[in-house]
Symmetry: C2
Subunit: 408 residues, 2 copies
C-alpha cells in the first residue's frame, strides 16, 4: 500500500478558470475503465513542457514536442493502456490521427493538440478505440473534473495523485492544480511519467518554459523507483492568465519567484506521491548528499544509493545492514574520494565516520530508524559545498509480483 | 535453485603441484561451518591479482594490494562471515594481525601473505576466531583439498564453484584449476567477489600480471547480478612453474596465448557459475551488443539491459514484454542514437527493427524463447564494428527474500 499519502477527495482539487477536463471509458486495454482524458484550454493559454530523454521516446512525445514548438495549444489528449512507444512510423501516424480527430471536435488545428500515452510498450495503439472515445470525453468536459482526470491517467498506480495550492499575487488569488501518474519505470530524466499542472496565473510564454525546467529539476527529476527511465515521461505546465493580475514578464520579479515556488511545491508533492505509490513500496526514503564538490557528484552518490537493490531490500526488511550504503558510496564513481572524510547518518543517528562504523553507534539506534516508514539517509562528503536530495522507496516482494504480472 | 550448473564433485578439481589447501571451522559468524581457508604456495610461485575499484574497499584488499606489489607470496588466507570492510584503521590492524599469525605458521614474512575476507560489511572482524582457526587450517594442508576449499569460501552461494582444465604445452601436461564464490552484490569491476585460479605452468611474473587483466575483462568483468560492486572483489592467478616446460617469457608466443585461452575458459566458466547461482536466479541471460561505435557504448547498452529491474522481472515471469528492452536501450545514454537502425533479437527471433516491432514477429515466438532457462538478448546497433557481451540473471521473489533476510 502507498506510504503515507493522504486520501485524495474530489474537493481537494480546485478548478482553474479557462480549463475543462473530460473523461471517457474507451476500452483501450480493458473494459469499464476510465482510460481517456481530454483537457481543453481557452484561447491564450500558455503551455510549456519537458519530455523524456529516452532515445526510444514514444510517438506522442515526438508529436507533442513538435506541436508545442510551433503552435498555441488548445487541447491535450491522454490515453492509458498503451504507450504508443516502440511503434515506429505507424505510431507517429496514430498520434497524428488522434490530434486530427480531437482538433475536429474542439474546432482548432491538429497542431494545437498535444497527445500523450502511457501503458505497454511496443504494441500498436488501438487507434479506433481512441478515436471512438474522443466524442464521449469531449461531451464530458467540465471545469470540476480534476479528480476524475487524476483517476483516468492511472496505470499501476494504486491511488490517484493530485494537489492544489492557492497564493495571493497583486491581491488576486492564484490557483495551481496538478495531477500526475506513475508508479514503476520511474527515473524521470526531465519529467515524470505524466504530470499536468495548471494555473490561472498570467505569465509570459518564455518565462513559463524557463520555469518548467527549474520545476522539473526540483521535483520529478529527483525521484526514482527502479531506475528505469520511461519512453513517455512528460510534464506539462499550463497558465490560462484568467486570474486578472498583470502578466509576469520578468524572471527576477517577486511575482515570478512566488509563483515558481508554489508550482515547485505542487510538483514536488506530486513527485513524492509517485514514490510513495511506487510499485510495492512500503517505505519512503529521502537520500540527502551534502558538501560535495558539485551537484553532479552529489547526484551520483544519491542515485547509487537509491538504485542499489541490496540497500532497497534492506530497507524493506527494516534491517540496518548499513555497510551496503558504504559500498554504494564507494562504487558511485567519484574520483579521489577519501572515504575517511565521509559521515553517514541514518535519520539523526551518526552511523559511520573515519572509514568505518562510528564509535558511538549502536545497532538498536539503526534498528529504531529502520522501523519507521519515512527514513532519511544523509551522506556528508566533506569536500565541497554542493548538495542534492533524491526521493525513493524500498524494493519488496510486491515490486517483483507487480512487474512479473503486469501484462496478464 | 542455480540455473544449469553441473554438480561439482571432488574429483572434478585437479591438484596443482606446489599448492596445498587447508580448511577450518573457525566459528567466525556461525558454528560448524567451514569458514577459513589457507592456501600455501611453494617458493618461486608467481602470483598476480586484480581487485575491486570500490573506494570503500575492504582492509584485506588494501593489505593484499600492498603485499602483492612488494613480495613473493607464500600464503593466502580467506575468511567468510565477515568482510572486514568499512572497518577503518582497526580493520587494517586485523588484516595485518592475520598475516603475521599465518606467516608464523608457514615460516615466512607477514608481507608474503595475502588476506581476503567476505561477508557482512561494517562489523568488526572477530580476529581471535580467525587467529585461533589458522593452526587448524594449516594442519589440514593438502594438495587435494580444492573441493573443500570451494565450499569454505561460500557465503550466500547455494553450490560450490570450481573447474579444472588441462592442455599440452611443449609436450607437458599443464593443469589449470580455479574456484570462486559470489552470488549477490555482483557487478565486478576488475574482479569478482573472490576467485582463485592456479596453474603449474611456468610464466614470467609480469606476463602473469598482464594475463590476469585480460582474463578479468573476458570473464568476471562481464557479469552482473544486481549491479552492486562489492568492497571485497579479488581475482588471484597463481603459477607454480612445476609442470617442467620452459618458462613463458613472450606475450606473443603461441604458449602464452594457449595458456591465456585456457585460463580465460576457466575464469569465464567460474564467472558464469556465479551468475547461474545469482541470488534468486531462475534464468541465465546473455546480453550481446553488436556493431556499436566502441566497446564502451556497447557495454552501456548491455548493462542498461542487464540492470533493469523491469526487464529482469519480465524474464522471471517468462513474459515477452520486450518493449522494456527498447526502453533500456533508449536510456542507456548513447548520443545521436538512431533507434530506427536498431535490430533486437530474442534468441534467434527478430523482435524489433525500424523503431518498432518487427513486422514478422509473433508473440508466440517471443513466448517460446522466454520459456527457456538460457536466453540470449542480441542488440545490433548498426553504427560501428565494436561488440561486447554481458552475463546476468533474472530478478525473482527469492532475490528479495535472500537479501531481506541476509543477516538474520
Amino acid at each position: 500500500m502507498p506510504v503515507n499519502i493522504p486520501t485524495l477527495l474530489p474537493e481537494h482539487l480546485l478548478p482553474i478558470p479557462g480549463i475543462k477536463l473530460g473523461i471517457a471509458e474507451a476500452g483501450i486495454k480493458k473494459r469499464n475503465r476510465k482510460d481517456l482524458l481530454v483537457i481543453a484550454l481557452d484561447g491564450g493559454t500558455h503551455v510549456a513542457g519537458v519530455f523524456t530523454q529516452n532515445r526510444f521516446c514514444a510517438a506522442p512525445v515526438v508529436v507533442s514536442k513538435e506541436n508545442l514548438a510551433k503552435s498555441s495549444i488548445r487541447g491535450l489528449v491522454i490515453n492509458t493502456g498503451n504507450a504508443n512507444a516502440g511503434t515506429g512510423s505507424n505510431g507517429i501516424q496514430h498520434a497524428h490521427a488522434t490530434c486530427t480527430a480531437l482538433a475536429g471536435l474542439l474546432d482548432c488545428a491538429p497542431q494545437q493538440i498535444l497527445p500523450f500515452s502511457t501503458g505497454v510498450i511496443m504494441e500498436p495503439l488501438p487507434i479506433d478505440a481512441v478515436i471512438n472515445g474522443l466524442p464521449l470525453a469531449v461531451a464530458d468536459l467540465d471545469e470540476n473534473n480534476w479528480y476524475d482526470a487524476a483517476q483516468a491517467i492511472m496505470t499501476t498506480d494504486i491511488v490517484p495523485k493530485g494537489i492544489s495550492r492557492q497564493i495571493k499575487l497583486q491581491d488576486k488569488t492564484i490557483t495551481v492544480t496538478g495531477i500526475a501518474k506513475g508508479s514503476g519505470m520511474i527515473r524521470p530524466n526531465m519529467a515524470t511519467m505524466l504530470g499536468f499542472i495548471a494555473t490561472d496565473a498570467s505569465i509570459d510564454q518564455s518565462l513559463l518554459q524557463k520555469m518548467i525546467h527549474d520545476v522539473a529539476d526540483q521535483s520529478f527529476n529527483r525521484i526514482t523507483v527502479d531506475g528505469d527511465t520511461s519512453t513517455n515521461d512528460a510534464l506539462i505546465l499550463m497558465a490560462t492568465g484568467r486570474a486578472g493580475h498583470r502578466e509576469i514578464c520578468n524572471s527576477e520579479s517577486p511575482e515570478f519567484f512566488q509563483l515558481q515556488e508554489t508550482v515547485i511545491e505542487v510538483a514536488a508533492e506530486l513527485a513524492q506521491m509517485i514514490v510513495r505509490d511506487g510499485e510495492g513500496a512500503t517505505k519512503f526514503i529521502t537520500v540527502q548528499v551534502e558538501s560535495g564538490r558539485n551537484v553532479t557528484e552529489c547526484k551520483q552518490v544519491a542515485y547509487a544509493i537509491a538504485h542499489s537493490p541490496l540497500i532497497k531490500t534492506a530497507f524493506f526488511a527494516s534491517d540496518p545492514n548499513l555497510g551496503r550504503i558504504l559500498a554504494a558510496i564507494g562504487y558511485a564513481g567519484l574520483k579521489d574520494l577519501d572515504v575517511n572524510q565521509i559521515q553517514l547518518y541514518l535519520g539523526h543517528v551518526l552511523v559511520a565516520e573515519n572509514g568505518g562504523r562510528a564509535s558511538g553507534y549502536r545497532e538498536e539506534q539503526g534498528q529504531q530508524v529502520m522501523n519507521e516508514s519515512e527514513i532519511t539517509v544523509r551522506v556528508i562528503l566533506n569536500r565541497g559545498s554542493a548538495s542534492t536530495c533524491v526521493w525513493t522507496c524500498d524494493l519488496s516482494y510486491d515490486y517483483v509480483k507487480i512487474n512479473a504480472d503486469y501484462r496478464s
